[in-house]
């Protein structure tokens, strides 16, 4: 099947969603996604950040789709023409979505451990407006310790349901879910029951914001002061391929490796994540791949990297990725 996104033609398999087709092309036209996660079945369709405009439905029915569609949920059809960043309507809609996502977000980035690798931060920086028009009180919750390793800040949650799906699909027992409805919904375990599954730590990695954070790394450092290295070990339960975050000769935290869309490549077990905090546990492969636009590369000195001066100086002009 042939589709066109922002004037770029691509050949895709039947049943591919627009988002995945755009990711196949790559570049600026890839819609951002906060809730869709390619490794989790049924994810997507909740955050609406991936909205695109379909100007031609298909070869058989060339009428445009009446509204913007969520690209993570809409399958491609033969001859479909899609506008992503080239449509001012889409850009405006994304701004609106970011504003909605930030309505109840506390914006406590200086405190939050996710700052620097937070998808919501990137999203609002690249696609959002500088100001919010929201004047009412934000909803607030108390922090919850889910077990001794995970901290849940419900204030920061954007209800993407990724963690719920992960718990449902990766593990045999479902231990947490979303309670209540509408703007009262919150992620919770049954009466704060601890999640003690061997793969439960992956909810930290799939969380796009700082709602679920690692308690063993809590306030230890900022992500841009620790050095990410790819490392592996022989693990009986998981693949053992991870990113370790070094500070001097100390492993501050261990996470799964993430691709350029911030998605985990292979899920890792809790033993690798929480218990192997010594460099001698790991075989180090080399420095992790980090976009040089990321704040994390601000403190990493590598040889042979030339830093280009920004073309324009000012907020909002920094190109993504």
């Amino acid at each position: 099947m042939k589709i066109t996104i922002d004037g770029v033609e691509a050949e895709v398999e039947p049943g591919t969603t627009i988002l995945n087709a755009a990711r196949g092309i790559g570049g600026e036209l890839v819609p951002p996604a906060m809730c869709y996660y390619s490794k989790l079945k049924g994810s997507g369709g909740k955050c609406r950040t991936c909205l695109v405009k379909v100007t031609k439905g298909s070869e058989k029915d060339p009428r445009p789709m009446p509204k913007l569609v969520a690209s993570c949920q809409t399958p491609c059809q033969d001859g479909m023409e899609i506008q992503s960043v080239s449509s001012p309507e889409v850009v405006e809609a994304r701004k609106g979505v970011v504003e909605f996502l930030l309505i109840n977000h506390p914006l406590d980035c200086p405190i939050c451990d996710q700052a620097g690798e937070c998808h919501l931060q990137d999203l609002s920086y690249e696609h959002g407006k500088a100001r919010s028009r929201y004047e009412e009180e934000r909803r607030t919750f108390d922090m919850i310790d889910i077990g001794d390793k995970i901290k849940l800040h419900m204030n920061r949650c954007i209800l993407c349901y990724r963690c719920v799906m992960l718990a449902e699909q990766l593990t045999e027992t479902r231990e947490h879910g979303v309670l209540y409805r509408g703007d009262r919904s919150e992620i919770s375990t049954f009466i704060e029951k601890a999640i003690d599954n061997e793969f439960s730590g992956n909810v930290i990695d799939v969380c796009p914001v700082g709602a679920l954070t690692d308690r063993t790394f809590r306030f230890k450092s900022r992500v841009w002061f620790v050095k990410p290295l790819y490392a592996h070990r022989d693990c009986p339960t998981c693949v053992g391929k991870t990113t370790i975050w070094l500070h001097g000769q100390e492993v501050y935290r261990v996470t799964a490796r993430k691709d350029k869309y911030g998605e985990v490549e292979e899920f890792i077990c809790n033993t690798c994540r929480y218990d192997k905090k010594s460099p001698s546990d790991w075989t180090i492969e080399g420095p992790a791949q980090i976009s040089r636009h990321s704040v994390m590369s601000a403190t990493q000195y590598k040889e042979g990297i030339k830093v280009e001066a920004p073309k324009t100086i000012g907020y909002g002009n920094i190109s993504p990725r």
Binding site: P110, R222, W224, V295
Partner: protein, 176 residues
């Protein structure tokens, strides 16, 4: 030899006139210039007793501000340290415990906040980067020390003392 520039002058040794040869007019001419300076405005000041006002944008010693309720503003976000071109700032964060709400404004605070004053170039980028209105550069100069170790200023020297509420620009921690 050809001249490289036309700025050089050829020295001529000519005979002095009578007035020139007694030197007195030149001496009195010089004395006259000296005398005139007695009645001119002085360009120097008597430094320790007298001090020039600093410019309002002068950047001197740092302070870590407290808010109106005396709580430390700094939340150890690390933006000053990453903005610092001289890498003079070191921060260690800690979590606020129950009962410390009157000491720290946010749930995280800096348990160690050190600025190496020998490294610091007083560019003020930390002040600009701070999202919590915590770090300011005052008009105070960094006092001289005998040891290098003494130039590493910790929280004991940087945090604004309790009870003071002066504007950060006019705040003088070392003034007697």
């Amino acid at each position: 030899m050809e001249k490289l520039t036309n700025r050089s002058r050829v020295v001529v040794k000519k005979e002095m006139t009578f007035l020139e040869s007694i030197y007195l007019p030149a001496i009195f001419g010089g004395m006259w210039i000296t005398l005139k300076h007695f009645f001119k405005r002085k360009t120097t000041i008597q430094y320790p007793e007298e001090k020039r006002p600093f410019s309002f944008v002068y950047r001197g010693l740092h302070i870590l501000k407290r808010d109106e309720q005396g709580r430390e503003n700094c939340t150890a976000c690390g933006l000053c340290a990453v903005a610092c071109p001289a890498e003079a700032i070191t921060i260690v964060a800690a979590e606020r415990k129950k009962g410390e709400e009157h000491l720290y404004r946010e749930e995280k605070y800096a348990s160690t906040y050190e600025i190496n004053m020998l490294r610091c170039i007083f560019c003020g980028l930390c002040e600009e980067a701070c999202p919590k209105d915590a770090v300011y550069l005052t008009e105070e100069l960094v006092p001289s020390q005998y040891n290098r170790q003494d130039f590493i200023f910790g929280k004991d020297k940087l945090v604004q003392p309790l009870g003071t509420s002066a504007h950060p620009k006019t705040y003088k921690p070392y003034k007697k």
